[in-house]
């Protein structure tokens, strides 16, 4: 597999603010790569640098193995971009917009017509082709934004939070669409601060904060990096302090707390934790209500790596 994007020691400053601090990234062909980070962590800045939209202070960027800069038109022709903000012409219709942006890449008229039709079908905008953008709902507008970015069938697609402010139904459609693009051969770089989205579609994920790439891997690899395993909660009416102390003695438990009639038991790795806990309750004559187990999320990963929540 060949590397599609290679970013090495990238430093980008906005005056005093260091937006990217020796940032490294490698993306393989065929991936859906997720850049996960809170607001202001530098996701958009990273993409802008890779695309040659921003000058950077240090480091190197290669795309398709070639050094990328603002006039690398031979590289740019294979790239598609869906930016964070909707970027379309208010005066042009849905179809005219897609045709315009597609035409910046595809000169052949017949081919372009075919591509525009395919993009309209792909994003489900058939009924709206004659609409002006301001007559579209938020979700449809996002789909138009995507259609404009991918109509020319690029090999590498950047998507910067394409689902911001989109209702769940539209969001799922968009995510399915991204997976389909990937199946058809496109490498995708996807940024978000919604961990569920990233977990759902990305093959590999980089966690970034304050301009740094803190961890990189598949979601399983990322979850393995942290000591948190599952967390089991049980409803107990009334738990004595010594009971909690006994729970802490159980294997793999690193933390136990009793809040609002709920006993929360945090485990590091290990198996059969739930069975062992229920046995423990029975042996100690503890009457308990609902018991449920939660697997660690990327939020836990993020929390452990950075010491703060992914979402504000």
């Amino acid at each position: 597999m060949s590397k599609v994007v290679e970013v090495e020691n990238l430093v980008k400053r906005y005056k005093e603010l260091v937006a990217l601090d020796h940032f490294n990234l490698e993306i393989e062909e065929g991936e859906i790569f997720g850049l996960l980070g809170p607001n202001g962590s530098g996701k958009s800045t990273t993409i802008s640098c890779i695309l040659g939209l921003l000058k950077y202070d240090k480091g190197s960027i290669k795309v398709f193995g070639k050094t990328m800069d603002a006039s690398s038109y031979d590289i740019k022709k294979d790239i598609g971009v869906v930016l964070q903000n909707v970027a379309v012409f208010d005066e042009l219709t849905v179809q005219e917009n897609i045709d315009y942006f597609c035409g910046l890449y595809i000169n052949d008229k017949a081919l372009r017509k075919q591509y525009v039709e395919e993009a309209i079908a792909f994003t489900g905008l058939e009924e709206f082709r004659k609409f002006q953008p301001k007559k579209l709902s938020g979700g449809l507008l996002r789909r138009l934004n995507i259609a404009c970015g991918i109509a020319h069938k690029p090999k590498l697609i950047f998507m910067d939070e394409p689902t911001v402010a989109v209702d769940p139904q539209s969001r799922n459609k968009i995510l399915e669409g991204i997976q389909e693009l990937n199946k058809n051969g496109a490498t995708i770089i996807y940024t978000s601060h919604y961990m569920e989205e990233v977990e759902q579609i990305c093959t590999r994920i980089a966690i970034m904060d304050q301009g740094k790439n803190l961890a990189i891997g598949t979601k399983e690899q990322l979850k393995d990096m942290i000591k948190t395993g599952e967390m089991i909660q049980a409803e107990i009416l009334d738990a004595a302090d010594d009971l909690i102390d006994k729970v802490k003695e159980l294997p793999h438990v690193y933390k136990a707390e009793y809040v609002d009639n709920h006993l929360k038991v945090h485990y590091t790795k290990g198996q059969r934790n739930l069975v062992r806990l229920i046995d423990f309750f029975k042996n100690n004559d503890v009457s308990f209500g609902r018991v449920y187990s939660e697997l660690p999320t990327l939020n836990d990963v993020f929390l452990e790596i950075t010491g703060k929540e992914l979402r504000d």
């Binding site: 802008s48 695309l51 040659g52 939209l53 603002a70 006039s71 038109y73 740019k76 022709k77 790239i79 971009v81 930016l83 903000n85 909707v86 970027a87 379309v88 012409f89 208010d90 005066e91 042009l92 005219e96 315009y100 942006f101 035409g103 910046l104 890449y105 404009c148 970015g149």
Partner: protein
Amino acid sequence: MQTYKAFLKIALKNYPSVIIYFVVFMIVAIMATSQGKESEKELYKDEEISFTVFNRDGSALGEAIKDYLSVKNTYVEVADNEEAIRVALYYRDIYYAVIVPEGFEEAVASGKDMELMNYKVTNTSVGYYMDMYIENYMKTLKSYIVADNDMETAIKKTLDTLKNSVDVQLVADINNSGITGNPMATSTISDDKPMYYYFYQYIPYIFLAIVITGMGPILITFGKKDVKMRINVSAQSFKSYGVQMFLGIVTFGAVIMGIFNILAYVLYGSTISMTAFVCYLILTLCFLLVCLGITYFAGFVFSKSDVMGGFANVVSLGFSFLGGVFVPLEFLGSTIKNIARLTPTYWYIKANDVIVGVEKFSDLNMEAFMKNCGILVLYALAFFCIGLAVLRYKREEA
């Protein structure tokens, strides 16, 4: 040519606001033209003008002038004193009074310069018409005198010559427009300018309004940060993009230039000389550049099309009022006149004054024309430079 095509497409979609300006302009132009037709009718009408002649010279020439004017007009007897004349003019008993001063015939016979004097109702074309009549008569008469005729023969020959050709001659003279050498010719009469003068006088207003409302939003749309980013990451080169935008602007400008100058030619082609028309082409082009410069600059300053519409109104009306498009400069106070000099419209109107009535190239005050056009081009450059400065400033902000 994707960007060029999109530019034109968006320009066409902006047409409603442009059409409104165009319609308003057409109404004004047509109204002005029909008014013009009326005054032309008045000028060439066969209706008789009441006049009087005071033959203080008591000469045959004085009587001959009276006879000549009586051919087409009505002689009215008025007492030869200031008060009576004023009353007669006031009540329109007469529109014109010719005074043949003492020694006039002798002076003419011996080739000396002596002018007839007159009183007339001001601000009507009637006085102008009579001036023409008399001017014409004197010219013809003098040419017979110069050709060694005695006074009696000269008078007779002049009457014969003019009787048949009065109207034709007059039309030609009026187009020539410059009647000079009348010491008492009261004030310049404002409706003695040809209609195309007024048409071109309103051009700055309509150009500013149409170019800013029509093209401003296009520049704003293409300049929107996100659209710009998307264009910048595309496979279209910066150079190709720039060239296409430039072509779009040129096309837009050419269409505006074309429409209004063709319109001018259709409406006034018969009264405008080729030289004047060419001068107007140059002048309107210079002013178009100013409009493009202002729009270019405004396109970077404003980010909303509505704001651009407001700006178009303020600039087109403001410059037009200040610069003498709507109100002739003579009527403005000296402070305002000084401010007016800062507007490009002021220099355009001055150039219009230079061009009006020019028949052939040698009539043109080349220096004044070049100066006014040059100042317009400088204005255009200044606005482009301010635009670039704003662009740079915004880049640094980003």
